[in-house]
């Protein structure tokens, strides 16, 4: 076949030799960025995709803004906040902000948006983002109060995260479908065109409010292109069809970095990789119920080797079941260092001198999972891989079919241990350890308001998790970004690229 396609293509080339310039790049003041997945709904409350979060930060504003560097809360649509008591949070709102459609921002918008999404009838995708809100009251035109349904220490992180504010009259009229087709917000960029699963085009909001913690947008146009295939996206980047890609494979990034027109930068994110182990024995593999076997597994896996050789620079090995910078996280736990000989000895002590057979589940990073399998084989544990899409993998976990689960967790970018450790160890459906003591400690931590007490509870829980080797916390993920050399872009730890802060050099 190649015999024939080559001359044909060559002939066609003679005709088509002039290539239309791609609409990307500095010359067009258009930043084209590629994302892998498409979005079911642009309305931020009706998708739970990473690209949805990214777009939401550009189209809308929140009451507060979390600084990507130090994670402090800065005034955004609210100029100040105050805890009236454990269950009441009051905000003073900013005056003089307008939405993209010209409506001016006031307490009504906050009240309508948050009351709408927190009511069970709204059927938002993630109930946990809103179920801590009982209701929202308007005190005056520029003051609102959020009444909480339960003590919720992480509330501010949610206010600054997955809770953008919509224009009340417009949203009441068009609802989530209308918001998807034609999104309206106060944010630094406004949507000018969108084609589902293909592209979303945005333009700078010239009337963006002056004191925004996001700063003023500098690049004229943004275009998000959905390119499902990573390598196609790389090819587009190399040939100037797109300006920015992320989550680049480490080896590829190294090679891309050597191309003259591209920059590659890396940055640690809040995402951690871990392997949970079926200590409760629901999957029927007896060996893993034995603490010595779990410790042997922990020592058999060469986490440092994986971080050094297979992962982008900037990630590191972790020992506790949380992201090190998260509130409540501590590194003061039992550490298992790579020691295959000791692992073999522990296996022998536990009565498995010749190892055993086991299945590892994974839903992403097939190469890392393969490396883990290789390490386990080296100490005699014959592991094979069950690689499934996220939903199927999660289904297996929930049904108790999983013995070893290599997985990752991004904590929804919430900077609090309650978004990770509590998610996996409070005897929920994804808790493989099912340790009642750990669960009780975490529950106390999640519902106390005093920060010091919370830290103490979490520290105890994390120590128990590590000494029992329920989890093998593995590493933090560093993401690699590759982009056009003309672009000035800074990555951030919360996995949310901020193009409103980017500019052309």
């Amino acid at each position: 076949m190649k015999k024939i396609s080559l001359p044909i293509a060559a002939a066609a080339m003679a005709v088509l030799f002039s290539i239309t310039p791609a609409a990307a790049g500095k010359d067009n003041d258009t930043l084209v960025f590629a994302t892998k997945t498409d979005l079911e709904n642009l309305d931020a409350y009706y998708n739970n995709a990473r690209v949805g979060i990214i777009l939401a930060r550009h189209i809308w504003d929140n009451l507060l803004y979390r600084d990507p560097e130090d994670f402090s809360y800065k005034p955004a649509l609210a100029t100040s906040y105050e805890w009236i008591d454990d269950l009441t949070l009051e905000f003073k709102l900013r005056e003089g902000v307008t939405f993209h459609n010209g409506a001016s921002f006031s307490a009504d918008d906050v009240v309508y948006t948050l009351n709408f999404v927190s009511s069970p009838d709204s059927k938002v995708v993630s109930r946990r983002n809103v179920d801590w809100i009982k209701n929202v009251e308007k005190i005056d035109d520029y003051t609102v109060r959020i009444n909480l349904s339960k003590p919720f220490p992480a509330a501010l992180d949610f206010v600054a995260g997955p809770l953008p504010i919509y224009p009340h009259a417009y949203y009441a009229e068009v609802g989530p479908e209308g918001m998807n087709r034609n999104p309206v917000g106060t944010g630094p960029y406004k949507v000018v065109a969108m084609e589902q699963a293909k592209s979303v085009k945005l333009e700078k909001n010239e009337d963006y409010y002056k004191d925004s913690p996001k700063g003023q947008p500098k690049i004229g146009k943004l275009e998000m292109r959905t390119i499902p295939d990573d390598n196609t996206a790389v090819a587009e980047l190399m040939t100037g069809g797109v300006d920015w890609i992320w989550r680049v494979n480490a080896d590829q990034a190294e090679m891309l970095g050597q191309t003259p027109n591209l920059d590659v930068v890396g940055g640690e994110t809040m995402r951690v990789g871990f392997m949970s182990m079926d200590a409760a024995g629901r999957s029927g593999v007896k060996a893993v119920q034995d603490l010595k076997v779990r410790q042997a597994i922990a020592m058999a896996v060469n986490r440092q080797g994986i971080v050094d050789n297979l992962m982008p620079k900037g990630g590191r090995v972790i020992h506790a079941a949380c992201y090190p910078k998260q509130f409540g996280c501590t590194d003061d736990v039992t550490k298992y260092t790579y020691d295959p000989e000791k692992a073999k000895a522990l296996l022998a002590e536990a009565g498995y001198p010749d190892g055993f057979e086991v299945t590892i589940d994974a839903y992403r990073d097939r190469d890392l999972a393969e490396a883990i399998i290789g390490d386990l084989r080296a100490v005699g544990i014959k592991a094979d891989l069950s690689y499934n899409k996220y939903s199927a993998a999660r289904d297996r976990v929930r049904n108790g079919q999983v013995t070893l689960n290599f997985s990752t967790w991004g904590s929804y970018s919430i900077n609090d241990v309650s978004a990770i450790t509590s998610n996996f160890f409070r005897q929920g459906p994804e808790d493989l350890a099912r340790d009642a003591d750990v669960a009780a400690l975490l529950e106390k931590g999640d519902t106390s308001v005093d920060p010091e007490k919370r830290k103490a509870f979490y520290a105890d829980a994390l120590k128990k998790i590590s000494s029992n080797a329920y989890w093998l916390p593995m590493f933090t993920y560093s993401y690699l970004y590759a982009f056009n050399k003309d672009l000035d872009f800074q990555p951030s730890a919360d996995e949310i690229p901020r193009f409103f802060m980017a500019s052309w050099k």
Binding site: N231, D251, Q252, D308, D367, E370, I373, L385, Y387, N388
Partner: protein, 308 residues
Amino acid sequence: MSDTVENHLQTAPDEIAAVPVARLSPKQQLIARMRGHFGFKVGLIVLVTFTLVAILAPWIAPHDPYAQDLANRLVQPVWSEKGSWAHILGTDSLGRDYLSRLIYGAQISLVIGFSAMLISGLIGTVMGITAGYFGGRVDMVISFIILNRLSMPVVLVALAVVSLFGSSLIIVILVLGFLLWDRFAVVLRSATMQVRAIEYVAAAEVLGSPVRKILFRDILPNVSNHLLVVASIEMAHAILLEASLSFLGLGVQPPLPSWGLMVSEARPFMFFMPWLITIPGTAIFIVVLAINLLGDGLRDVTAPEGRN
């Protein structure tokens, strides 16, 4: 059954000439024709070589295909400046010897191709011969089943089933086996119809031979040339489909060295280390080519009138 479908499956992608079934020629004549047929010889030699490689893999593979060595990852093949004879085709991203994985990969492709072909061949042959011999209502029912099977897009159904039931070597074989029987059924149905019309079969019927005997003794030997040709097409088809499924991440699972999986795993390197996708891709290409050549050759040799 739809004429269009029947017409299509009988002829494409490999035109199986609907020639009148020739009585098997004397053996020597057949062997002579095989010897004289270039494509047949090449296909046979390549396929035998690959099969030997697959069987002898544990003895000829220079390294353990699963042994990873992160310090020696992405070693270049011997023909490049940085290559060495220690790893003739270099190593992959986990430092596993590429040649050894390629050799073990032959096992997977051939096992899948052969087993899927056997399953589908069994299903399709039983259906086709039954429909062709009994005709009437039986034929109607079987034709209806075939039409149903044909109207379902193979790739989509295979993907869906594998993603629902998890993917493993066995599941891939079963899915392909149960999807690829249509051509067997269609071709053998009409071949059987033709054979049945031949006088001595009719004579056997009149003489009261048991049906089983007629099917096995009179019909099957006379349609076996069609059977072999379709078998070669479907074996090649199964190997290509397995590679596609594995490529899409829904086929054979790591660390098994399937060629489709190897292409898939090598993709991040395609722009800078193109040999990593070229080598396993070429392996698929060669083995499928050999099987197709063999099939074409079989058709020409057993039914020389098919090709003027």
